[in-house]
């Protein structure tokens, strides 16, 4: 059943879009109508918010536009609301009625200096104390290559008071080789009363860098930049960006390239999921499972390297196709490898499922309530483990997914074990998808070959299902056909908001396990 059709949605009746940009229907509305229309689209029509972002559209004076991008599942179409901000730099917050909008609005506030009016908790995100208060990096007049002066903007952690409550500050430097992030626990004994993650340590100004004109192969440079937004998701990030560029330049994707993209996407998912399954077992102290996970992940990474000369599948995506083909000689041994991997992996999982001590650690730990997940717009593995069935491969079919029709796994319990199980199921379905893609793949070109010329004053969205969840790129061009704004929404950006809820009530020593079961990206969040 199509979820969109279940709802009584009359928004588009009697309205004509102010502009149609490929699969984007843009409606310009006055800012005062925004909260009402958003509630209609989100609640009455059941359309998920894919991103909310802003653009600096003025040349000499600042003029800002806020864009609300709603996805229409199964139709591979997006409804975009576009509203200009008031002259005093404020815009109406929709957070009081749609909670998941909160992080987007805070991001707009931080990077554009626009104030969301009636936002219940408006505070800066990502940027740290030493970033000046009145410098908003995504504004046009802020140069990308100058270092801001020193500043000291206070940051206050939420505090819990009570007898015996103490705080544990952890990070940003950790004992393992992982990304930096600070976690502030308020604990009563060993029980976590509250957890506040503080991120932003890997902020690199990625979105600003996308706006900087590059010499030479401009689009190629930006594809490479997108591969580095979150290193472990290089392929899905660059794929989302390439898809946006393809609709900006009207590029058709050759049939063979569509299937190859499925194969590479699923290889990325395989490597990461297997690595995570192993890491979860390591963190629970089950050494055999942990070392098996790293061993199998390494085998997949080595195949990535054999197929594309890159362990992280970098340099493979290009607008209008892929750069690496599957040769018939490799295909046979690749298929054999998939069979071996499936067998090997199923044996490891069989051992793991038979260990009551391991299952006891995973079950009931770090439960993410379904309602909380829905209210925060959680995506990907975490959403599926809490019973929310959303997956860009089915909802916005890209590459050859529409033809392969992948099966989407869901679990109901929302605990660490559910997220573990979602990954196990997705490993099997990825192996299956790759095998089917290899079987169905037509011959022919793998690249479009046409020169890339972007349309002027245009919008485009690219969406993929990375191994963590939905990756959304929203790209706009200016009157010269140059990229003027790229908004990136990594799944971690939304999922970080619920980590504190999942950890609450658990004991402090279980937090690393809960954190690993989400395994969110710091780089993808901090941008």
């Amino acid at each position: 059943m199509d979820p969109f059709m279940e709802h009584d949605c009359t928004f588009e009746e009697g309205r004509t879009p102010s502009g149609n940009f490929g699969n984007l229907n843009v409606y310009e509305i006055p800012e005062s109508e925004v909260p009402g229309v958003c509630v209609t689209l989100h609640r009455d029509c059941g359309l998920p918010i894919k991103t909310i972002t802003a653009m600096d559209t003025g040349a000499a004076v600042h003029r800002f536009r806020i864009l609300y991008v709603f996805g229409v599942p199964r139709q591979n179409r997006f409804i975009v609301l576009s509203a200009d901000t008031r002259d005093n730099g404020t815009f109406p917050s929709i957070t009081p009625s749609i909670h998941e909008a909160s992080v987007y609005e805070r991001k707009i506030m931080t990077f554009f200096g626009l104030r969301p009016e009636h936002h219940p908790h408006p505070r800066r995100t990502v940027l740290h104390e030493n970033w000046p208060e009145n410098l908003f990096p995504l504004r046009r007049d802020v140069p990308w290559n100058t270092r801001p002066g020193n500043a000291s903007v206070p940051y206050r952690f939420n505090e819990v008071e009570g007898e015996g409550i103490y705080e544990i500050p952890v990070g940003p430097v950790h004992a393992g080789i992982i990304e930096p992030g600070h976690f502030r626990f308020s604990a009563g004994g060993e029980e976590i009363i509250m957890l506040e993650p503080r991120l932003g340590y890997t902020h690199k100004g990625t979105e600003k860098l996308f706006e900087v004109p590059a010499a030479g192969d401009e689009i190629g440079e930006k594809v490479r930049l997108s591969e580095r937004v979150s290193g472990d998701t290089s392929y899905s990030h660059s794929l989302a960006f390439c898809q946006a560029v393809e609709s900006l330049a009207d590029l058709e994707l050759p049939g063979r390239a569509a299937y190859l993209r499925v194969i590479y996407s699923e290889l990325e998912r395989l490597a990461n999921h297997i690595g995570d399954i192993g890491a979860l077992m390591t963190d629970a102290g089950f050494g055999f499972g942990g070392s098996s996970g790293s061993r199998l992940r390494e085998v997949v990474m080595q195949w990535n390297n054999r197929l594309t000369s890159s362990r992280f599948l970098r340099g493979v995506n290009t607008p209008g196709g892929v750069t690496r083909d599957m040769t018939p000689g490799l295909e046979a041994s690749f298929l054999k490898f998939l069979g071996d991997l499936r067998l090997d992996f199923s044996e490891v999982i069989e051992v793991a499922e038979g260990r009551s001590s391991l299952l006891n650690r995973l079950r009931g730990t770090g439960v993410l309530d379904r309602q909380i997940a829905q209210d925060h717009g959680v995506v990907g593995v975490a959403a599926k483990a809490s019973g929310i069935r959303s997956d860009a491969r089915v909802d916005y079919p890209y590459a050859a997914y529409g033809r392969l029709n992948p099966e989407i796994a869901t679990e109901q319990d929302g605990d660490v074990y559910a997220r573990f199980t979602i990954r196990v199921k997705e490993v099997y379905s990825s192996i299956d998808l790759i095998s089917r893609a290899l079987r169905d793949m037509p011959g022919g070109d793998i690249q479009h070959g046409k020169a890339i010329k972007l349309k002027k004053n245009y919008y485009a969205a690219g969406i993929t299902e990375g191994w963590r969840g939905n990756i959304v790129y929203f790209v706009a061009t200016d009157q010269n056909g140059k990229i003027s704004r790229v908004d990136i929404c990594d799944p971690s950006f939304l999922n970080w908001t619920v980590l504190g809820y999942a950890a609450r009530g658990n004991v402090v020593p279980d937090f690393p396990l809960i954190n690993k079961s989400f395994n969110l990206s710091y780089s993808g969040n901090d941008l």
């Binding site: 004992a175 060993e190 102290g285 055999f288 279980d510 690393p512």
Partner: protein, 316 residues
């Protein structure tokens, strides 16, 4: 001639008794790691790696938190010396008491507890939050495991009617077959408590990098250089000390009952073999099961206590 030979052998046995545990301890740690690696389809580091690690730490500079008091500076030396002194009491290859003043098991348990007590103080001394909760957890576990250790050895002490470890070993060797049931029960209790005492699975993970899950490692997180080397060394001595107690009190067969060269040689080989078997046991447990949740640890330690209590009941 025979008399002087006896004296030479006695002195030799005495020296062995003092240096054997400290010298072989890192090797035992290395062997357990190697077996674990092999069981997990990994190559693993050489069994000599713990020696290299300790050697490396001795040569390194140390950083001491300026807020640290004398407790922090003093603890590694105290911990190391109490562990070595406690080790002298454990019957390793013979049931003959070599030093007159050693060998009472209560003294042994509480000499070790003194080191742990100071380690817990040192953990809190620097004021880091990790040290604080490391100490709090260590004390939670130690308070419960102490009973397990004392009661399991008490089973044997009641059977032997002495609290001297060497005499216990000699007496257990002569116990009739039916008495072995309580001995096995007490050993199960001892095994659980000793895994807790030495910071092994399923209580603590000596190999983890996750600060928040640590118990022992969290306490010593602030140590570096020479002091860390002493603590690491003391930890491995502590492990082999408990292993030796386990194999020689509960399974004392083969311990030399007099100081003669052939008996000592046989008992040394047998002892090393028993320790190796124990290493396999620990590595098997650490590979085959996950770590327990922190709040389930008291249940397991209570089980250890009950097992020993039943054993005592059977013995009396």
């Amino acid at each position: 001639m025979e008399g002087s030979g006896h004296i030479v052998l006695s002195i030799l046995a005495g020296i062995l008794q003092i240096v054997m545990l400290p010298l072989m301890a890192p090797l035992v740690t290395g062997i357990i790691r190697k077996i674990k690696a092999l069981l997990q389809n990994r190559e693993g580091a050489s069994v000599l790696q713990p020696y290299r690690d300790i050697g490396k730490l001795f040569r390194k500079d140390e950083v001491i938190n300026p807020d640290a008091s004398w407790v922090f500076r003093f603890t590694p030396y105290l911990l190391f010396s109490t562990t070595v002194v406690a080790g002298i009491s454990v019957p390793l290859i013979t049931t003959i008491r070599i030093f007159g003043f050693t060998g009472d098991f209560l003294t042994l348990v509480y000499t070790l507890a003194l080191g742990v007590f100071f380690l817990a103080l040192a953990g809190m001394d620097t004021g880091s939050s990790f040290g604080g909760f490391g100490s709090s957890r260590e004390m939670t576990v130690a308070a419960l495991s102490e009973g397990g250790i004392v009661f399991s050895i008490l089973t044997l002490a009641i059977a032997a009617r002495t609290t001297n470890l060497s005499s216990i070993a000699a007496a257990v060797e002569l116990l009739p077959l039916p008495s072995l049931i309580p001995v096995i029960l007490a050993f199960s209790g001892f095994l659980i408590a000793m895994l807790a005492e030495t910071g092994r699975f399923p209580f603590d993970n000596p190999a983890t990098h996750l600060e928040l899950t640590m118990i022992h490692e969290a306490m010593i997180l602030e140590y570096s250089g020479r002091k860390l080397a002493l603590i690491e060394w003391a930890s491995s001595i502590r492990l082999v000390l408990f292993i030796s107690l386990g194999v020689n009190l509960f399974f004392p067969w083969g311990l030399a009952s007099s100081v003669t060269f052939p008996l000592l040689a046989v008992s040394t080989v047998l002892y090393l073999f028993k320790v190796l078997l124990f290493c396999f046991l620990i590595a098997g447990i650490e590979t085959g099961m996950a770590k327990l949740r922190f709040f389930r640890l008291p249940d397991l330690l209570f089980t250890s206590f009950i097992l020993s209590a039943i054993a005592i009941g059977l013995m009396v």
